[in-house]
């Protein structure tokens, strides 16, 4: 510019005059398109179809494993918005933001549109027939044990077809994997109550003590728990008659990093990471001291956990422990929940067992911890995912056990810690088939990528793991025509694969026909006795769910003190002084939703940060390290280092830092790629001693400044802002509250 003797100012002058001239010459462009645009009419519309007026169809949300029942508003053949189905026992007509974003999975521009076969670094489009033939060819001469199938949680008729397909192949290698599932708590529940997931009656508890269970955010069935929580906050229900009798329930959240549930609690106690079990035993001891009748074995197990010792170990004051014990003794029934914070350690099972013991001591079992209904059709019951499955799969791949691998619904290359070397081990499998919606990290390593229908285009039945009343079979049905002709539903793919092997047994035209036949055949057990097939089927689809006549289950186990041995609080590690707490965000979860702009754009409820990763660090710790908000810090552990912006946050234990999971994708489309960092990668390979689950909270790190600083993109104002001179949100530290009024 300067060479030509032309500067910015001149340029703007000319541009201004030019623009004015164009405006004067009347470039009257509007979007009116008389006689150009084609208006497409219906050819044979259903009677209820009126253009511009929405019609609602029932289906099932596929955004998380809670499997809420939803209705989609469909207008002119397009699904526009989702609402909750009021008939549902899971969500009773409500929905969460994560569920709302389901339409963005459907309309996502980065969806894969046709089968892709690896050719060097590229994927070459092939036909479905060719893809299925190729799978048949690769399976030829391969024994069943050389085939592995990795999935997320599976249930319903797609789950049945998968089981049948594996049986036909002679394979037992079904790895149900869920990177952030409460699997340690499930195992502890199984021991203590005889069921993996008892019904938790938040609405009947006068006091809830939650050890890091984020039941309002990302834990098990958040929409359902939110409704129970609302009841709990208004009037606690009578345990017998279920009428509102009590006053407002009290929620105490004990965790090292504040979750959304913690932010709603009456009392939030920051506990030293990993000492949750000690605290539970300390409460049992304090309850005994306060005069509660406690069984002799529980009393013996808790005897050495005096208030002083527990206070020293957990960092929670003796006064708080005594007050909490008094509160629990005064107000029964209560409910104690072991969440991901308690179970995320090498002694996670022990923590969960101690918490289950506390529930038993308080007499909550049978009152606020209830037995779930029995699903009458065990073959459609959910196979829930856990983290141990990935270790087992990884070991198998490292030994070269597998010749063919199928991957559906999970992204293990993204969620596996770097120390597992999963990516390298995956490369040892000669033929990898990935069923995917997007080219995510795992699909990029595949030899064959098969594109799936979105959850709003596909047929399925889903049995939720957690249902508050009875048992329920959810119907997932297409809310609109497929966007791309080249995608297929998982049910149809499995049926196609089964047809290759057993053409005589599977004569169904498609998965729809299979599913219809399966339900219609059992109509008398599904509440359709006496109805003709078409009537039963139409009403089932219209309802979007079938209430199953499930028998009431029983709680059988007993929380035992045998083998309950809690380690002393972890010693300080001078090289890596801080605990890393990977936080499960209510919207991104294990990272599968990172490509939904609505969710990236929704501010994190506690920090209000959008479109990025961050490091939550206590102001005192930050001051020690000389870190201020927006500093790019390096978080380094034994298994890698990542860099992110620091966010000073009082809702965290000074010995810990927290980073949200879900971002840091290297692939998965334009909205996810290169946003933030992947915390999964640096997790230390420490496992729960009983279940073998990866202990998510065991990673130790050090934090150092890199010298760079950014302005954090967030919704909130400056920390300690004046709130316009008004006391809008008053904050008082927990030791300054007079708790005597609560008891």
């Amino acid at each position: 510019m300067t060479d030509n003797g032309f500067d910015r100012r001149d340029f703007l002058k000319v541009l201004g005059w030019g623009g004015a001239a164009v405006a004067l010459s009347g470039c009257g462009y509007t979007s009116v398109e008389d006689g150009r645009e084609i208006v497409t009419s219906y050819s044979e519309p259903a009677e209820y179809v009126i253009p511009s007026i929405g019609v609602y169809f029932n289906s099932t949300c596929a955004q998380c494993d809670a499997a809420c029942n939803i209705m989609g508003r469909v207008r002119e053949g397009r699904v526009l918005k989702l609402e909750g189905n009021p008939e549902s026992a899971v969500n009773r007509g409500k929905m969460c933001g994560l569920g709302q974003a389901g339409v963005q999975h459907h309309y996502n521009p980065d969806r894969i549109r046709e089968p892709l076969l690896r050719n060097g670094d590229k994927g070459e489009a092939i036909t479905w027939d060719k893809a299925l033939e190729l799978i048949a060819a690769k399976l030829d001469g391969v024994t069943g044990e050389q085939v592995a199938f990795v999935t997320g949680t599976m249930s319903g008729h797609v789950g049945v077809l998968l089981k049948n397909y594996l049986a036909v192949l002679g394979s037992t290698n079904h790895y149900a994997y869920d990177a952030v599932s409460p699997s340690v708590a499930r195992a502890a529940n199984k021991k203590a109550y005889g069921v993996e997931m008892p019904r938790l009656r938040l609405d009947k508890a006068k006091v809830i003590i939650s050890f890091g269970a984020d039941f309002l955010g990302a834990w098990v069935s958040p929409v359902h728990f939110s409704q129970q929580y609302a009841q709990f906050r208004k009037h606690v229900l009578c345990p017998v008659e279920e009428t509102a009798i009590g006053g407002r329930g009290v929620l105490v959240q004990i965790e090292s990093k504040m979750t959304l549930t913690g932010a709603n609690a009456d009392r939030w106690l920051a506990i030293r990471p990993g000492t949750e079990g000690i605290f539970a035993l300390g409460l049992i001891n304090a309850l005994g001291v306060a005069g509660l009748k406690i069984s002799s074995d529980a009393a013996a197990a808790a005897k050495s956990y005096t208030v002083e010792r527990v206070s020293a170990d957990t960092g929670i004051s003796a006064e708080q422990i005594n007050k909490l014990a008094a509160l629990l003794k005064e107000r029964a029934p209560s409910l104690v929940i072991a969440g991901s914070a308690a179970e995320g350690y090498a002694h996670g099972s022990q923590n969960a067992a101690a918490i289950a013991l506390l529930n038993q001591v308080l007499g909550n079992v049978g009152k606020t911890v209830e037995a779930p209904s029995v699903v009458p059709f065990p073959q459609v019951a959910p196979t829930v995912g856990n983290r141990f499955a990935l270790q087992a799969l990884n070991d198998g791949m490292a030994q070269g056990k597998f010749k063919v691998l199928f991957n559906y619904g999970v992204n293990p290359v993204f969620t596996a810690p770097a120390s597992m070397k999963l990516s390298e081990n995956l490369a040892k499998v000669p033929f990898k088939v990935v069923f995917a919606h997007y080219m995510d990290e795992t699909a990029l390593q595949a030899d064959l990528v098969l594109p799936l229908d979105s959850a709003l285009e596909d047929w399925a039945t889903v049995v939720p793991e957690y249902v508050a009343e009875g048992a329920q079979l959810n119907i997932q049905q297409p809310l609109m025509e497929k966007l791309y002709p080249g995608t297929r539903g998982m049910g149809d793919i499995l049926l196609g694969l089964l047809k290759q092997r057993r053409p005589d047994e599977y004569k169904y035209e498609d998965f729809y026909a299979y599913m219809r036949n399966a339900l219609v055949q059992n109509k008398s057990a599904l509440g359709g006795a006496g109805a003709d097939d078409d009537t039963f089927w139409t009403s089932t689809l219209s309802n979007g769910l079938v209430k199953l006549p499930g028998g009431q289950g029983k709680l059988s186990g007993k929380a035992s003190t045998a083998g309950l041995a809690l380690p002393a609080p972890a010693a300080a590690d001078s090289a890596y002084p801080l605990h890393l707490i990977p936080a499960v965000s209510a919207s991104l979860r294990d990272g599968r939703h990172a490509n939904l702009p609505w969710l990236q754009e929704s501010p994190d409820p506690l920090t209000t940060i959008v479109w990025d990763s961050w490091v939550e660090i206590h102001p005192k710790t930050a001051a020690k390290l000389g870190i201020v908000e927006g500093d790019i810090v390096e978080v380094a552990g034994k298994n890698g280092a990542i860099k992110a912006q620091a966010y000073l946050f009082p809702g965290i234990h000074p010995d810990a830092i927290s980073m949200p999971l879900g971002n840091g994708h290297e692939a998965m489309g334009r909205y996810a790629k290169n946003i933030g960092v992947n915390v999964f990668k640096i997790l230390d390979p420490v496992y729960d001693k009983e279940t073998g689950e990866l202990a998510m909270h065991e990673t130790r790190v050090k934090v150092s400044k890199t010298g760079q600083r950014v302005v954090i993109v967030k919704d909130e104002g400056a920390v300690g802002g004046k709130q316009m001179g008004k006391k809008i949100a008053v904050r008082v530290s927990s030791d300054k509250i007079d708790l005597s009024g609560e008891v």
Partner: protein
């Protein structure tokens, strides 16, 4: 000054180029008599034959018989293909005329296989408003036809012109904001018998939502 001149020439050239491109692509939308462009439809649909006066050979079919959504929805919609076939499959007298043969090609599929069975006819839109304008057909039909008891052909004609005399419809009103407002400013009786009058809404957000 030279440098100033040089950039001006460049920019002028640019605007002339884009301007002439836009002029080519966009025939004038509104002529002096408010007539819209002539639109070539895939089938030259004779509105006069269907809706025209009996004295002139028309059948006086109610507009709402085919445009059935107009009274129930903000959009009038285009009659579904099924509607055309519903009558024409039992009108043998015109079954072999060129336009009806063409119509049935959309329903049954063409012999050369170019048109699949039950393909909607790709009609061209004749009356279009910018996307920032929300016009509600239902409100207008309910008000003028059902409440004030005006003949439906008159009510439709307020905006669409005398369609019953046309073959293929052609826009005959400007559909500009001033034109809309000119009617909204008039006093209209609230129903067929009342002497009370009221004007159309003049809030911006009624149309610009």
């Amino acid at each position: 000054m030279y440098r100033f001149f040089r950039l001006s020439v460049l920019l002028a050239g640019f605007f002339v180029a884009t301007g002439s491109y836009a002029a080519d692509a966009m025939p004038p939308l509104t002529t002096a008599d408010d007539l819209g462009p002539k639109v070539d439809q895939p089938i030259e649909f004779p509105h006069d034959r269907h809706a025209g006066d009996a004295a002139k050979g028309g059948m006086e079919i109610n507009c709402m018989y085919c445009h059935t959504y107009a009274r129930r929805s903000i959009v009038a919609g285009i009659p579904p293909l099924q509607k055309c076939i519903g009558c024409h499959q039992s009108i043998d007298s015109v079954r072999e005329t060129p336009r009806i043969k063409q119509l049935f090609e959309y329903w049954e599929g063409s012999k050369d296989g170019k048109i699949a069975a039950k393909t909607p006819v790709p009609w061209k839109k004749v009356h279009d408003l910018p996307d920032f304008v929300r016009f509600n057909h239902e409100r207008h039909i309910q008000r003028f036809h059902f409440q004030q008891d005006k003949p439906v052909q008159e009510v439709c004609a307020y905006c669409h012109g005398d369609v019953k005399t046309m073959t293929v419809a052609r826009r005959s009103k400007s559909l500009s904001m001033g034109w809309c407002a000119s009617c909204h400013e008039k006093d209209h009786p609230v129903d067929a018998t009342s002497t009370m009058t009221t004007q159309g809404p003049n809030d911006c957000w009624q149309c610009h939502k």
